[in-house]
Amino acid sequence: MSEQMMTASGALDGGKFARQESRDILRFLTCGSVDDGKSTLIGRLLYDSKTIFEDQMRSLEAVSKKHGTTGDDIDLALLLDGLQAEQEQGITIDVAYRFFASDKRKFVVADTPGHEQYTRNMATGASNCDLAVILIDARKGVLTQTRRHSFINSLIGVRHVVLAINKMDLMDFSQEVFDKIVDDYKAFAQGFEFESIMAVPLSARYGDNVVVKSDKTPWYDGPSLLSYLEDIDVESADRSLPFRFPVQWVNRPNLNFRGFSGTVASGIAHVGDEVVVAKSGKTSRIKSIVTMDGDLPEAEAGEAVTITLEDEIDISRGDLLALTQHRPQVTDQISAHIIWMDNSRMMVGRPYIIKMGTQQVQATVTDLKHKIDVNDATHKDAGKTLELNEIGFCNLSFAQPLAMDTYEENRKTGSFILIDRFSNQTVAAGLVWFGLRRAENIHWQAVDIDKKARAAQKGQTPKVLWFTGLSGSGKSTIANLVEKKLHGEGHHTYLLDGDNVRHGLNRDLGFTDVDRVENIRRIGEVAKLMVDAGLIVLTAFISPYVAERRMVREMLEDGEFFEVYVDTPLEVCEARDVKGLYAKAREGKIKNFTGIDSPYEAPVQPEIYVNTAEMSAEAAADLIIAALEKE
């Protein structure tokens, strides 16, 4: 350990309680790869600020001998690798949070990796940060990864950047090298909206300019990295933005108290101010701002409080309170950037759950306008899907209107996540670009003759019999028999199948995953209209995905959707091969053929289950009719 470092740790030692009481927090992320010395740099900050204790050092010494890459020196990078597998691979592969403090500030470090596939992690780390430390290896200069890191930070709204130009010891602490890198960086960073860019020449391994200024860089007149981080003013603009208060929880201890608990997202509000519930437009005045430490005259950005109002108006979790003169947008369609974070790809048309602040509803990506190349921030052709770590600019539509601002105006009320309805994984991070106001102009035409009236005239209960199963399983045959029987009993029916849909309404669609989703969506909408007309609708489509079958089920009212699973083993379907399709698929002449090179997700709890190995088509049709009569 160098002498310089010892004095440095002495410098940070002091700090009595009184001095520490007034510290604030700086949250920053570090971007770079292991090769850039990122882990070593953070390890150095932790070590020099005395955040590492003796017992941790002893364990580190032992580990260094086993996995270290620094010879006999303690490998500071190993301080940071928390998980066993990563430790053995020698790579940090997730966001890790580190803490250290000086007399002036508490620091929260989001440590994120720099490899191409980890856009997801960097976006996650950046979402709560005000500043980014971007590592550059002095030997290599500005790389593609540097551009990528800068772009993601800019997109997520990080406005302050520090270039940590590391390994200066390997370049003889040359000013020329340093200046060239800074010039290169500033040239391309002009396109980003950074408020400040600072460059520090350093050696993380030897501690130069990390905590104390190095005598090896006499030409550098700026502060050490730590001094800079201690002093920079990143005071966010949250306080000066319009007041936004997402209601988290209705606080109702007794009949005399009704408060709304939440954290002020932005701005400031005082007792007596007139507030509006964004979605309903109802207004009232703030009566009191309650905390366990006593009532407050005002509440500002970041504070978790409970607000009571003068009037009894209807407010629940998910509502957004604002001052009447500065209201947020309320819309059910937006355009937004989304960063895809899941292994299962995004599909246009598939429903997801959106969580925005405390609001949560169903949302669909209706259009993917373009993708963005994170390496050079250029736009690419869109297609209809996004893969893990891809960034897209899309239109989304929600099942109900949401209250929001644009992300540019407000990071707190302009951000959202998308959640997969089946896996419950967080699949995307979203940034509101702007609200599309079209929604306000589409009003439902109220009609006097409704579904009930039409059904009554026909003397039947309208419903959808949704046949699903592999190609050649017998769906159409059985559906046809069922329709004949229903017709014979005097019911009004209609059978939708590949012949009458694929050649007309859906002839623009192919068989890719995305087209299959759209195919089913349209069939669902047509079936819904027919149910509205009072008909009993039968559909016979492979409909291989659980998600889309569920989507149709949710379009209809409870009890209207009957899933009929026609279960026939693949071998049997393939042996029948009525239309010769399996043979072609096996030869590779048809792509995306269900059962061959595209999956079939069998229903788990269908309303009606038909096993064609055990019964004839005629018997299956009787079974279905019997099941319907039981309803």
Partner: protein, 303 residues
């Protein structure tokens, strides 16, 4: 009306934690707060009271009692329940109790597995809790640094570090399937220093064992073990002696090492911590096996 000082880091941490606690109360059907009686639990409880004031806590506290906790911890626990009008569930692994599972004959590792990890899983399953608050902090231990604030657990309560959900902004994904659960760590971004400072500023009651006092102790494996009752088997020639000691963390008394100290006020504890050269977990006997031991325990369902 009270003057505010939002810009201090402690106020920022307080508001962040309250937000997390409220989010759980709103989104889950049946949450519970795991209460270990230690200083972190004390802070977590204090924050929860702030989150719902003037209402009572909308969820119960649960203490997993291994039957080997310090007696002063149990006294303190019951005092808090009364003072703050809390609902408390105390759970002990009855099968373990019947078999007299203890740290001496079974070893600390098996004992912890049965009386702590298994006991916790039993209780979570029996009460069908869908969310459980824990007081763990990211600065405690390396594998915790990557832990999410909302940490997803499978139906059998295990943790898969590769299958955690990304957490962005302060928007938390609280969706789970029946049987699955989430462990929530509202103190994730607090450090040991923050905890002590906050306890001091907010005047939060803590178990007296944190303050130095003359206590009967014996030296084992280089650390002081308190003879809290007559169940502690003494080795040959071992005679308890009175020493000025205090505890930096609390747990089962036979497994929790005391440090020699004269710090008997919060100010003195804080000063002592600023010059301390070892981490608080050094007093915990279960962490010493190897660096990855905590990670392994977490995969198995340990908190």
């Amino acid at each position: 009306m009270k003057e505010k000082s939002l810009r201090t880091h402690l106020k920022a941490l307080e508001h962040e934690s309250i937000h997390i606690i409220r989010e759980v109360a709103s989104e889950f059907k049946n949450p519970v707060m795991l209460y270990s009686i230690g200083k972190d639990s004390a802070v977590m409880l204090h924050l929860a009271r702030k989150a719902f004031y003037p209402s009572r806590l909308p969820f119960p506290l649960m203490h997993v009692d291994t039957t080997w906790k310090f007696r002063e911890m149990i006294t303190f626990r019951d005092r808090m329940v009364k003072e703050y009008d809390l609902d408390l569930i105390v759970h002990t692994n009855e099968e373990g109790r019947a078999n007299n599972v203890n740290p001496f004959t079974h070893g600390s590792s098996l004992y912890t597995q049965i009386m702590k990890t298994d006991a916790l899983k039993q209780a979570l399953t029996a009460h069908k809790f869908d969310a459980a608050f824990g007081g763990a902090r990211r600065d405690e231990e390396k594998s915790r640094a990557k832990e999410r604030i909302f940490s997803f657990r499978t139906e059998n309560h295990s943790w898969d570090p590769k299958n955690q959900r990304p957490e962005l902004w302060n928007i938390f994904n609280t969706r789970i399937k029946p049987g699955e659960s989430i462990r929530v760590f509202p103190l994730s971004n607090w450090t040991e220093q923050d905890i002590w400072q906050y306890i001091m500023l907010e005047n939060i009651p803590i178990v007296p064992l944190y303050f130095a006092k003359e206590r009967p102790v014996v030296k084992r494996d280089g650390t002081w073990i308190m003879v809290d009752d007559d169940r502690l088997p003494l080795n040959e020639g071992e005679v308890p002696e009175m020493k000025m000691v205090r505890f930096r963390t609390l747990g089962c008394y036979p497994l929790t090492g005391a440090v020699e100290s004269s710090a008997s006020t919060l100010e003195e504890i804080f000063e002592e911590m600023l010059i301390a050269r070892t981490s608080e977990r050094e007093g915990r006997m279960i962490d010493h096996d190897d660096t990855a031991s905590m990670e392994k325990k977490k995969r198995e369902g340990y908190f």
